[in-house]
Symmetry: C3
Subunit: 351 residues, 3 copies
């Protein structure tokens, strides 16, 4: 695809300075962009590159005053970054809409139901009674188990595995290699020390507007459902155990883990590599720092915790600061002990 | 599949109260179950739902006395949860047994040997000399390398990758996306600061009754074997490095990692996100808390550790408790220093 | 493949003692090797096995003096382990070179360009304009997105997913299930508390001689590239976020995570399960201990850190040692307080 400055300016409602026929075919960063690339200038830190960039078109803010002439065509808008991001989104959307049809070989059970404008990549497997909504794109090498329902406008990236009976809403994005609906980790200890599998016959329900990163695992419920509520965003390599609920618009960074039956509220932020034990509740708006280990419910909304075991963020930071001085602190205690010993000895002598 | 109350009661040796012809087609939790679902009532906390549930059949204990009439058909048994779990297992077993035959397209080298009642899903790849035992089910999009041997009654979920020469026993379950037998992480530092790959030509041996979660990685040995012994249960996203041994009926929670050549004993429990360094031994029955970092061998059986670096559980909890008071403790030391300084000064003055 | 002692001795320039016609077909550890296996003896700890091994051929050092006669054929070389490793490498190389051609069914877009001696496994998908260099082996069930460029002599193990526009150099190895080029985790908070996806239109560039383990995830840049520089070695289940740079010959152990836009220098070593926050720099030669949490740039080269938050290794170890004595330390402070209280009281009384 290629676009002229005039076309782009029209899309973002901007004003052109320079050659309106300048052509771009892709996007770049201002410091790295090559000819026929589109870039933007928003951060003053990068000002020097505005005058040296090889980009053919630069989007910039209405208010910026040029120090001297520049080579690229300029498009002026009120907010350069937002306009650029809008173009990126449009570009991706257009590229995605070109994906249509069923590539061969693929495996669709005869009972599969597909909406309009669906894409099914080669080597994808759709089991019995799978339903796929309009405009959903399923990339190659994907496994969709029996009775899975996927809504409209979803993107299922390559190699995703969704076990039977799971349900996805609309506008859901799942990245490559992620596993939805694997068995929860449930084993009953036996008298002889061995473990017996507890059947996991629930499912996973993923609501609208959820995005899930690559190689993440979300286990099915023992009975009932593991829930990822509307608008939640999960990064890569995250573990969500059986019967967990992740609330609306909650954000979870990479490699975090949530143990079984824990309920995470709405608008919670969970840092990378944090761990949360099972069977607790995390109040709405909680902030859990990276690498924290949360072992008790967080009951007050909007509080921040850190550490393992995790507690109140500010207090924990103070303890961590003192921690660095522990050897010094021990030395001070020894000195005190010595001094006090002398004082006590003198007192005894003076009696 | 659908079942009547009479059929279910027969299977679990129960006594029917109500309509023996009531029909169910699936399972549900008592608080969420819909018509034509089967549920159970065991925990008194859920008593109210017994009288409001939409389930068609409820399994409950012989001893429970109804407060008033209920809508569903009841089936009385000595232990409601066990009876329910038994039904779940039977249901899954029956569903699994219907999986048979080789779906097309799939790739089986001419030298592959298959037992009876085997299922091979579409887009699965079985290399040279692969052997698969009776009644083993291999889901779609799976890769089984040359010379791999898989026992009987195994379930290999979609997208599992097993490298060449690995060996699986009987009744092994491996969940989606897990990688068995990738190269161990072995590199010899060179004089110029670069690293040279050390060939990893061992394999992975997984014994009977082992279950491994989704997207876990178990590396092949440099020479010899990485072992997962009989009855061990591993959760999702776990790292098991080359030449590790995991003992019988040991349980490892999600996102834990075990470094190279470490030997984990029998009946050990390892919490989520725990890490264990290489070349150490963990005694039988050890309990390693979530997020612990074990840097030394645990030599006495049945001890519990926590923390990073990990040590004795009870002591570590005490240290963690004091840790929270470190700023307060520092303040107390400052006060003591002030008081002692005054005492010393007065003593000097009094001389 | 089978080899005689004479052939092996020729390959490693050794001297034979015993039957030059002894035949081996595979490799083993000295304590476990069976007939027709080749092993080596280098570590004196294993001396007893030299006299009991069932191996048919043993490689050992020129200097070692036999205590009594041994059964296997011996091959003497200056450095037994190096000679053995060389044979392993040769063996793997030969095995790999036998992989050639395009297995069916596979999906190659008409615009794909393949070098000579390439292997494409069944069920692999190569999108538009994909380029694959000479002698590169792509195992089954792999997804290679549009415009991806892969150099020569690479090994892409089964089930790897490489998103569009990513670039791999020569001699790159990527293990099974790894995802290259998934979207970076970028969301703009909206006024209503929801999050809007920031398009991720950069790519991932992986330079020569890089090896990446299984089920690792490396996200594409928002704009520009996420870089893995030449000779870097990454283990399994690692998270590398968008716009990160990993330097030359840097080594990262399993389950470590690096947040967005952080720059890791050359020859850095990062331990397992370590986490590094975003937007910082790690100086060349830094050593980051396992499970550390690095929250600030490391500016001096060749320093070691540990802990979470991480700081100077030696100091942190001292603090950790004191940490274990915190309850005892608190007791000592209480004693001091009691003694000082008495001293103060007496002083008051004596006035």
């Amino acid at each position: 695809m290629q676009f002229t400055a005039a076309q782009i300016s029209f899309l973002i409602n901007g004003k052109i300075e320079g050659n309106a026929e300048a052509v771009v075919t892709s996007f770049g960063k201002i410091e790295e962009a090559e000819q026929h690339q589109l870039t933007f200038f928003a951060n003053p830190k990068y000002e020097e590159f505005l005058y040296t960039t090889h980009a053919s078109i630069v989007i910039l803010s209405e208010g910026y005053e040029l120090k001297h002439a520049v080579r690229p065509t300029l498009i002026r808008v009120p907010d350069a970054y937002s306009a650029f991001a809008l173009l990126l989104s449009k570009y991706e959307e257009v590229a995605r809409q070109q994906l249509k049809g069923i590539e061969q070989p693929s495996y669709l059970a005869p009972t599969v139901t597909l909406g309009t404008d669906v894409y099914i990549g080669a080597f994808s497997y759709l089991g019995n009674h799978v339903k796929v909504g309009n405009n959903t794109k399923i990339y190659p090498n994907t496994y969709i188990g029996n009775n899975v329902k996927i809504g409209s406008n979803c993107i299922i990236h390559p190699g995703v595995k969704i076990y039977h009976d799971c349900v996805l809403g609309n506008n859901v994005i799942i990245h490559a290699g992620t596993v939805i609906g694997g068995d929860g980790f449930g084993f009953a200890p036996q008298a002889d020390g061995s473990f017996k599998k507890v059947p996991q016959i629930g499912n996973v329900v993923i609501e609208d507007q959820v995005e899930i990163g690559a190689n993440t695992t979300i286990d099915r419920a023992t009975i009932g459902s593991t829930f990822i509520k509307a608008g939640a965003k999960l990064d890569n390599l995250i573990q969500v155990a059986h019967n967990v609920e992740v609330g609306n618009s909650t954000v979870i960074a990479a490699q975090a883990g949530i143990s079984g039956s824990t309920k995470i509220g709405n608008h919670v932020m969970i840092g990378g590599q944090a761990g949360i034990v099972g069977h607790i509740s995390i109040a709405d708006g909680s902030k859990i720092n990276a690498q924290s280990g949360v072992s008790k419910s967080l009951k007050s909304p909007n509080t921040a915790v850190t550490g393992s075991p995790a507690y109140d963020y500010t207090s924990a930071l103070r303890s961590q600061a003192v921690f660095r001085n522990l050897p010094e602190m021990e030395r001070r205690i020894q000195e005190l002990e010595e001094l006090v010993r002398q004082l006590v000895a003198e007192r005894v002598n003076s009696l």
